[in-house]
Amino acid sequence: MPEPTPRAGRPARAGRVDPGTLATHAVLSLGALVMLFPFVWQLLTAFKTMPESVRVPPTFLPQNWDTAAFSEVFTALPFAEMLGNSALNTLGRTLGQLVFCSLAAYAFARMQFRGKNVLFAVFLSVLMVPAQLLILPQHEIIQRLGLLNSVPALFLPGMFSAFGTFLLRQFFMALPKELEEAARIDGAGPLRIFWSIMLPLVRPALAALAVITAMWSWNDLLWPLVVNTDPTTMPISAGLASLEGQFVTNYPVLMAGSLVASLPMLILYVLLQRHFVQGIALSGSKG
């Protein structure tokens, strides 16, 4: 995103720092420090030994960057498997939402059919219901399907999103009508128009939705706690909570575990920062 252009009457003078700018930097850096420090401390603690982590007064840098805590995490729990479960959960929900939401959003935005508005109102009402209200029966359904303690149980209900449909519909609505009509005259069917003409045009929205969905899926805790109680089918969020149950106050191990568990999303964030920010901004201005 471009930097804001300087406001009239106050050109940034080279060589001299404006005191107001300096104060702004001071406030913002202090805030940034508060935001960043917990991560720094997490990282440093993860490389300490248990006795070093509780030394008084504390050491700032680890004395000899001990990696035992990391290996402990992987032996105490099937952590690698849990990371895999989280990845599959994230992939399942994200792909599901991209496909199902974009199809429905396109229909709602660009097609005419009977009952459209009633259906759309029903979709919107789903958006309004808090997730907790549905968990008990959802759990029963998963159980009836024989899917408790399985990876599909993690992502199945989350593949369908009213929010995603709503978001993409706004984008489809903004597209010019001529594109579709030209294609229709060329004899293209609805699926073809959707797939090769319209869908590519909303790519930024799809990227934003994908990134936001991936984030929520990776971070979700309540639903996995409910459906998958077996460590081998848990995602990392729930696995980390059970790690806490085992190593109550062994903080190097807990910090190592939490670092490993949050790293994939952090890496994704660093790589796709623009999409994250855009996703949030979109859901902000169009919600």
Binding site: T229, P231, G245
Partner: protein, 419 residues
């Protein structure tokens, strides 16, 4: 260091599932004509012992084989419940006091009386409190396998330094309080005692000692003045600074404080002996005494038991296995593993002698006046209420009486739901 609840090994401890595979799927009745029994348990530490017992059993009963299935404690009960609904529960599985009435009252356990009477099995070899704990409506539903009592663990070095004589069976609450006061040494960061807000370790013992009760005839005892006395013993010592407050003990648990020699006395499980024994300092100058008496003597007893699924089509074979698990032979195999105390009378010596530095016999001596772990059908509901409502008095903010009365009211409300 690990969070543990009822029994020593109870809460899912250490590494992963030793024998893999949890519920789900049905077991074919015969592999080569043998009946396959599925045996559900949660403690990975006990897998080696259980496997030895299963081997011994299979040697006696060549027509039956036992398949052990381990599910971590955190997931054990939800998994079992789901398996019960779907009809895929193991044939034999571990049961505890908190859950027995729930399962028995819902008819998902096989009553054992007909088998016990048919075979003339003498249940008297197991402590009566445990047999009673696993009875419901006059029927016995599970075979006790091990037990735990609470004792007073103390640190001889800290006692010597403060010039306080070691605890023995003459101790009363008054002696305990005086000692706690004298042993407290703020300059060294040492507390006299650690009175954790953890029912089984602390107030479930002092409540009956004061002559109170937790639950009786489906009503809460927390509004009984004597019950409140049993609670106040602890909150008082916290208020006076002889025990750390529960806030401090959340960040560093009582057992940790004892192991790191920052508390002179700690009420703890018999099953912790092997963990205490592993610490050189405690092994050298740690000790065990019977709990000091209040109006009465008491300690909380809890133990695990083996139950048979009401839906198992292999109940006959399952009973043979359960009976074997309740025998002296199995008890001795289990005792030699050193993880738990077998409940079979006379097999505890092996355990007592395995750690001669501690006088572990005190744990056995207390059986004479042990009080069963209190439970009802939905035990978990009112147990959760305790942690929610006793927090303030346990952090030195006073109001134990009021908190206890609120707890009684809420607990009665919860008990009302059981009917």
């Amino acid at each position: 260091m690990r969070r543990r609840s009822l029994l020593a090994g109870a809460v899912a401890a250490t590494p992963v599932l030793a024998t893999g595979c949890s519920g789900g799927g049905d077991s074919p009745d015969g592999s080569g004509g043998r009946t396959v029994l599925r045996y559900g348990m949660w403690d990975p530490l006990q897998v080696p012992g259980m496997r030895k017992i299963a081997k011994a059993f299979e040697a006696e009963h060549p027509e039956i084989s036992v398949k052990i299935e381990v599910t971590p404690f955190d997931a054990y009960w939800t998994t079992l419940k789901t398996a019960m609904r779907g009809g895929s529960a193991p044939d034999v599985f571990w049961m505890n006091a908190v859950n027995i009435q729930l399962y028995a009252s819902n008819g998902v356990l096989r009553p054992l009386d007909e088998f016990i009477e048919r075979d003339g099995f003498d249940m008297g070899v197991h402590p009566g409190e445990l047999v009673g704990m696993y009875s419901y409506g006059g029927e016995r539903y599970a075979m006790p396998k091990d037990f735990d009592t609470i004792g007073l663990w103390y640190n001889k070095e800290l006692f010597d330094r403060a010039g306080v004589p070691y605890p023995d069976d003459t101790w009363t609450w008054d002696t305990l309080r005086d000692a706690a006061a004298e042993l407290t040494d703020p300059s060294r960061g040492v507390h006299g005692i650690t009175g954790e807000m953890w029912r089984q370790y602390t107030y479930y013992n002092t409540i009956p000692q004061a002559g109170g009760y937790v639950i009786r005839d489906g009503r809460s005892g927390f509004d009984d003045p004597r019950t409140i006395e049993g609670l106040r013993l602890w909150t008082d010592m916290i208020d006076r600074g002889w025990s750390p407050s529960q806030s401090a003990m959340t960040d560093t648990r009582g057992r940790q404080l004892y192991l790191s020699e920052r508390t002179a006395m700690n009420y703890d499980l018999s099953a912790m002996a092997s963990q205490m024994y592993a610490s050189p300092a405690i092994r050298d100058h740690g000790g065990v005494a019977v709990l000091p008496r209040g109006r009465e003597r008491a300690t909380t007893i809890h133990g695990l038991a083996n139950a048979i699924s009401g839906k198992s089509p292999r109940a006959g074979a399952a009973w043979e296995f359960v009976k074997f698990m309740g025998s002296r032979r199995a008890a001795e195999i289990q005792a030699r593993e050193g993880v738990t105390i077998s409940s079979y009378a006379g097999t505890q010596d092996i355990w007592v002698k395995s750690m001669p530095e501690f006088e572990l016999r005190h744990f056995i001596d207390m059986l004479d006046y042990a009080v069963p772990y209190p439970a009802s059908k939905y035990t978990a509901a009112w147990e959760n209420l305790q942690t929610q409502l006793l927090g303030r008095p346990w952090t030195g903010k006073g109001g134990i009486e009021e908190a206890a009365r609120t707890l009684a009211r809420q607990m009665n409300l919860a008990l009302e739901q059981e009917k």
